[in-house]
């Protein structure tokens, strides 16, 4: 990518003045946002509100946070949620390996000293995890809390606290507070309903699959040089696949993969045979493959 153009973009983007400017800056960063998403992001930025983005798999929820960080010239701090994630993995941990080495190195007298415990549980041995890191970085960071729906509800309640006042207390060290909050983006695939309280704190945006025109544009942005005619056919085919009752309908990433695969194979058209040969690039689940194969003629033909 052209570095100078990106840099210029970053400079102007760090104080975007309108939805249109933000949209353009995102576009320069390789992300095509529609009016709704851009407006939500803009309001979140200007009012310092976290943004909750929900949507189907692979519609660009994670990517938008990454692009935002890069165009705003901020550091991206990512907290990937998963089942069983707990506060240690999200906030901070003590570097106990180094603590033990340290104790061993101390002499008897030093060990008995009153302040040895304080030193041991001081900033030197504190390992920052994403939330603490983000609170420290404040305005310098974009905090991406990815796939929050995978964490359990207790973790969610804890997150709500952090998002409410952006301060974290480490008993041994004290309270760390962000002077200005980071931009927070939460994503969810909606495998479960989130707490109303958390949602009320956030701006909410539901991301639909992009309409065909936009999806073609996204592919051409992400995979420059591919044939536009072929891309149109692929986008049409992907949309037909999405209308089947698949367990995992293909996302935008799959559309891109499919076009790339066809390009590599030197295919210029998308008939039943080429669909059949390359279906694995778009559909990963076995049952879905079976279902799609039963509709081969319907998926390809449209070009």
């Amino acid at each position: 990518m052209e570095n100078s153009a990106q840099l210029a973009g970053a400079e102007s983007a760090s104080n975007v003045q309108s939805v249109a400017e933000l949209t353009q800056a995102l576009r320069d960063g390789g992300y095509l946002a529609d009016r709704g998403l851009a407006t939500t992001l803009y309001v979140g930025l200007t009012l310092d509100r976290p943004i909750l983005i929900e949507g189907e798999v692979g519609v660009g929820k994670t990517e938008v946070a990454k692009t935002l960080a890069s165009i705003l010239g901020r550091r991206l701090i990512r907290l990937q949620c998963y089942e069983g994630i707990d506060t240690n993995q999200a906030l901070y941990e003590w570097d106990y390996a180094r603590q033990m080495l340290y104790i061993r190195a101390l002499s008897q007298r030093e060990l008995d000293a009153d302040d040895s415990v304080e030193k041991l549980f001081g900033p030197r041995f504190l390992l920052e995890r994403p939330l603490l890191e983000a609170v420290r970085a404040g305005r310098q960071a974009v905090l991406l809390i990815d796939e929050i729906d995978r964490a359990d509800d207790e973790f969610e309640a804890f997150l709500l606290e952090v998002l409410s006042d952006f301060q974290i207390t480490v008993p041994e060290v004290g309270t760390i507070r962000a002077e200005a909050p980071p931009l927070v983006i939460l994503t969810s695939n909606r495998t479960r309903e989130l707490h109303d309280a958390l949602k009320r704190r956030c701006l909410y945006h539901w991301v639909d699959y992009p309409d065909p025109e936009r999806e073609v544009a996204i592919v051409l942005t992400r995979a420059p040089g591919v044939s536009e005619a072929l891309t149109r056919k692929v986008v049409a085919a992907v949309n037909r696949l999405r209308s089947l009752d698949l367990a995992k309908p293909p996302g935008v990433a799959e559309t891109i993969d499919w076009v790339r695969t066809l390009e590599v194979l030197g295919e210029t058209d998308l008939d039943a045979r080429t669909v059949s040969d390359t279906l694995g690039a778009v559909i990963k689940e076995r049952d879905d493959l079976d279902l799609a194969r039963r509709h081969l003629d319907r998926i390809g033909s449209g070009g």
Partner: protein
């Protein structure tokens, strides 16, 4: 255009949203006003998206929001106060730029719908060997004694809180290091933390209308013995309406609790409204914490008088709220193929069951004692 009119408009709009069932507090109205101050308040598209991002908290609310927005900002025939209306009309002149995105795909095609309805009519007469229902009072009493000795054991969940333990997966640096200092730098043994185990809450939602009464009574007996064992059991009964019977179960005997519940929730002509009752559960109890992470056991034959869409939406939302849904259906028919994740081969025989099946984690027949034993065993196995 001054500031006051737009504030008045947004307050008014919020009122309309509230009446349509979307909770909009004064905090949201304030945020909306602040957002519009940084956007263009005469641009309907900005008004639409800013409002949507602030007011809507779930995808399902989007069509409602769209409807209210259209009626409020694009329909001139209304009775709002004049100054407001003038502004609204001014805004409406920019209506041509507003393209409210397409809402969710419409309902399934009419033929399919009819086919399903037809199926329902023909399956009202499904097999009726009501094993519990056929029991004499003495036999029922005997069954109850047996049941009282069975335990409903909901699976345990791991909580985030860690407690000190002799061994575990997570090292406990604080304890290890403190111990080490006490021993003057000698590492004796690493200390560990383990996750606490806590039984998941068990929520029983029992259909007590008509033919379901006997089966539900048997399950309620279950609930009764479980309620005395742990306080993490909740019981609800439904027919036309839903009622919570947990407190009654603690105080009274099962028959009494059930008779009262039945009187409260069953309109004999009203039929069973599973969808509405489950919606009420999610709205009034589930969200407030009762359903979160819980194992929800629903006992019903799926014969629903209400709108199948309402039922589908309710179960879908319930499935996202709770940990697992177990459906006990005494009329479940064993089938060759098994339903989607729903267990060892039962076939949906009512429209209601067809609608809910994709969201059900386990489907068991509960028509006799063996069915309930199976339930007890499989509940404990659920993870």
């Amino acid at each position: 255009m001054g500031e006051a009119p737009i504030v008045a408009v947004l307050v008014d709009f919020a009122g309309h949203l509230r009446r349509a069932g979307i909770a909009v507090g004064s905090g949201e109205v304030l945020t909306y006003c602040q957002a519009m101050a940084t956007l263009d308040p005469t641009d309907l598209v900005d008004l639409y998206w800013a409002g949507r991002s602030i007011v809507v908290t779930r995808r399902e609310q989007i069509p409602v929001y769209d409807r209210v927005f259209r009626a409020f900002f694009l329909n001139e025939a209304d009775d709002r106060a004049t100054p407001v209306r003038t502004l609204v009309r001014a805004l409406a002149t920019t209506a041509s730029v507003l393209q409210i995105p397409a809402v969710d795909p419409g309902p399934a095609n009419p033929e399919e719908h009819q086919a399903r309805m037809g199926l329902m009519a023909s399956t009202v007469d499904i097999l009726r060997d009501k094993s519990f229902a056929a029991c004499t009072p003495e036999e029922l009493a005997a069954l109850r004694r047996i049941m009282a000795t069975m335990r409903l054991a909901p699976p345990r969940r791991r909580t985030r809180r860690l407690r000190p333990a002799a061994r575990g997966r997570t090292p406990d640096p604080r304890r290890t290091v403190r111990e080490m200092m006490r021993r003057h730098g000698e590492l004796h043994a690493l200390r560990w933390r383990a996750r606490r185990h806590r039984p998941r809450r068990l929520v029983l939602i029992l259909d007590v209308s008509g033919s379901m009464a006997d089966y539900s009574r048997a399950l309620l007996q279950f609930a009764h013995s479980a309620t005395r064992a742990t306080d993490r059991v909740e019981a609800f009964c439904f027919g036309t309406r839903l009622t919570r019977v947990t407190p009654a179960l603690r105080r009274r005997n099962v028959d009494d609790a059930m008779a009262r519940a039945a009187k409260a929730v069953v309109d004999w002509e009203g039929g069973t409204r599973i969808g509405d009752c489950l919606t009420a559960f999610v709205r009034d109890w589930g969200r407030r914490g009762l359903g979160r992470g819980a194992i929800v056991v629903i006992c019903s034959d799926g014969l629903d008088r209400g709108d199948p869409d309402v039922l589908a939406t309710a179960v879908e939302r319930l499935s996202r709220l709770c940990h697992r849904i177990v459906w006990v259906n005494p009329h479940a028919q064993p089938a060759g193929r098994s339903g989607r994740g729903a267990g060892p081969g039962y076939r949906a025989t009512t429209l209601g069951m067809m609608v809910v099946e994709p969201y059900v984690d386990l489907l068991v027949a509960g028509q006799d004692l063996r069915g309930l034993e199976e339930l007890a065993v499989r509940l404990a196995e659920l993870t």
